[in-house]
């Protein structure tokens, strides 16, 4: 199993221990709180993800053949959601971000709440993270 899948599996297990929605949300909020701070230089319009009711900023860098993600939000739950994605996608290869099997959302027991169709911005976050991955993939292939 790749680290991409291992990390997701671990999250699924962590959330699995939590029985009710309060604990799951509390855990999600804690994930957000433990997110590495985003440099203030990236907290501006250019890094804002469109389509969220709250503000979510996202920045990505290429480190060797791995993509690094940095994010923040002005809402606890949005920050938790983006932190969940960062936890899984940060440090992966761009190909993995683009084509890997992202099962964590469906399996942590918040699928109904984290559906990309809801106004939570999850769909927009993921789209932006994949856009970075595609850009870096193109860049490394052309290098």
């Amino acid at each position: 199993m790749s680290s991409f899948e291992n990390i997701q599996q671990q999250l699924v297990e962590d959330f699995g221990f939590l029985e009710d929605w309060e604990d799951k949300y509390a855990y999600l909020i804690d994930l957000g709180k433990s997110l590495q701070p985003l440099d203030a230089a990236y907290k501006n319009e250019n890094y804002l993800i469109k389509g969220c009711q709250s503000k979510v900023w996202l920045h990505a860098e290429l480190e060797g053949d791995r993509i690094r993600y940095f994010a923040d939000s002005d809402a606890f739950i949005s920050k938790g959601i983006v932190a969940l994605l960062v936890k899984v996608l940060d440090g992966q290869k761009p190909e993995e971000v683009l084509h890997g099997n992202l099962f964590v959302i469906d399996q942590i027991g918040l699928a109904a709440h984290l559906s990309p169709n809801r106004a939570n911005g999850l769909g927009s976050m993921l789209k932006q993270m994949r856009a970075y991955a595609l850009a870096y993939l193109t860049k490394t292939q052309n290098a």
């Binding site: 309060e22 909020i29 009711q53 503000k55 809402a75 709440h113 939570n120």
Partner: protein
């Protein structure tokens, strides 16, 4: 606590099937009434009844079904006329909603009456639907959009309003009740001030029509607009009331069926009001069902409804004021049905998500009134908005849920 001993409010709730639904495993508490109201069974039944028994196009058919549909459709126009005390049936124009009604006035009336250098006056409390159509008119004509500011309580002062009026002000368009804050504007005085200056008036009554008695003759406005779906009716129906002598001058903005008298390739002559401004097959079923909504409201009594909703708002406001760490946004002396607030340190979005988990539907965000949020320098608010079928017990559940959310977000 009950307003009218003759109204059994618990029984009234039974008329609304959706209130028996559960959300996330809890009985639904629906506090998003300012966005759209729920529908009583009589309204839902009217839709089924129309499509099951007499679905047919209106105004043209000589066959029985068409005549039945036409009578039912036109009877509602008469009902709306009565509901707002308009002088003539032809003053009632069906639209798709408040937004379309305002756009119709801005496009049609605006094309006749507004020129470069003229001014359109609105207030800082407006919904985007009462801002953007006027901005578009200003862009087309070179007129200027002027905004009356609001104070810290979320009120428009009559003095500020009067000061912004001048001989170039062609139109003053303002809401009766703010959807974001619940502020009740002094519309009678505002209409009088505008009239004294020779300025036309449009009253956005989208939030007032579900909760208050409306008498357009007493109010004296030139236009008044509202939506069926916020007052127990279906979506897709709105009303434009306009004074007959003004509507008669207004050119159609849409051409098509029903709005014509004769069509020749050389020249088309237009139909009489109101059909002249209603091109195409209208929303027949929903208009007819809206008639049932009006009947339902009138049976309960608008005064009775208003008192009940005032009690709900007063109770909820008092409960929230007892909690620490809650900031009320919009503290106007005269308010209806809307409680906008923030949990200090928490984004409205977080609060909305957590309340939803507890079965409580509130609205979060800018409520299509971004300038108000900018005025208070906040990203948005949490908005609980009430209707007469809500209960004090629901408010208690809401307050408990709010405390839980507050704890989770601390």
């Amino acid at each position: 606590m009950h307003t009218d001993i003759h109204t059994d409010w618990a029984a009234v709730r039974n008329d609304f099937p959706i209130l028996r639904e559960s959300v996330n495993g809890r009985p639904l508490v629906y506090f998003d009434n300012a966005a759209t109201s729920q529908k009583p069974q009589v309204v839902i039944d009217a839709l089924v009844d129309y499509y099951s028994r007499y679905n047919s196009n209106v105004h043209r058919g000589v066959h029985s079904l068409s005549q039945q549909a036409t009578s039912a459709f036109e009877a509602v126009r008469k009902q709306v006329q009565g509901f707002i005390s308009a002088r003539h049936e032809a003053e009632i124009i069906y639209t798709r909603g408040t937004t379309e009604a305002i756009n119709l006035v801005a496009q049609s009336w605006g094309s006749l009456e507004v020129m470069e250098g003229d001014e359109i006056l609105i207030t800082g409390l407006e919904h985007h639907a009462n801002i953007v159509p006027w901005q578009m008119l200003c862009e087309r004509t070179g007129a200027k959009l002027v905004v009356v500011p609001i104070n810290d309580a979320g009120e428009v002062s009559l003095q500020d309003f009067a000061e912004k009026l001048n001989p170039r002000t062609r139109m003053a368009a303002f809401s009766w009740i703010s959807n974001a804050l619940g502020t009740v504007n002094p519309v009678f005085e505002m209409v009088a001030l505008a009239q004294a200056q020779g300025t036309r008036t449009l009253v956005d009554a989208a939030q007032a029509a579900p909760h208050s008695i409306i008498d357009v003759q007493a109010l004296g406005c030139d236009f008044l607009v509202f939506s069926a779906h916020k007052m127990l009716g279906p979506t897709g129906v709105g009303i434009l009331y306009g004074r007959l002598e003004i509507l008669e001058q207004m050119p159609p903005v849409q051409g098509g069926g029903d709005m014509i008298k004769e069509v020749r390739f050389e020249k088309t002559t237009y139909n009489e009001l109101p059909l002249r401004l209603e091109a195409g097959t209208p929303n027949i079923a929903d208009v007819i069902a809206f008639g049932k909504a009006l009947e339902y409201l009138q049976q309960l009594g608008m005064e009775n409804i208003e008192l009940r909703e005032q009690e709900l708002l007063a109770y909820a406001t008092a409960q929230l004021k007892q909690l620490s760490g809650i900031q009320l946004v919009g503290t106007a002396a005269d308010k209806r049905c809307v409680l906008s607030f923030l949990i200090e340190g928490a984004h409205p979005y977080d609060v909305g998500v957590l309340l939803d988990q507890m079965g409580i539907a509130i609205r979060t965000g800018h409520h299509c009134a971004q300038p108000i949020m900018d005025r208070f320098e906040i990203p948005g608010t949490c908005r609980a908005s009430f209707a007469f079928y809500n209960s004090f017990e629901e408010i208690d559940r809401f307050v408990t849920a709010l405390q839980k959310a507050q704890k989770m977000l601390s």
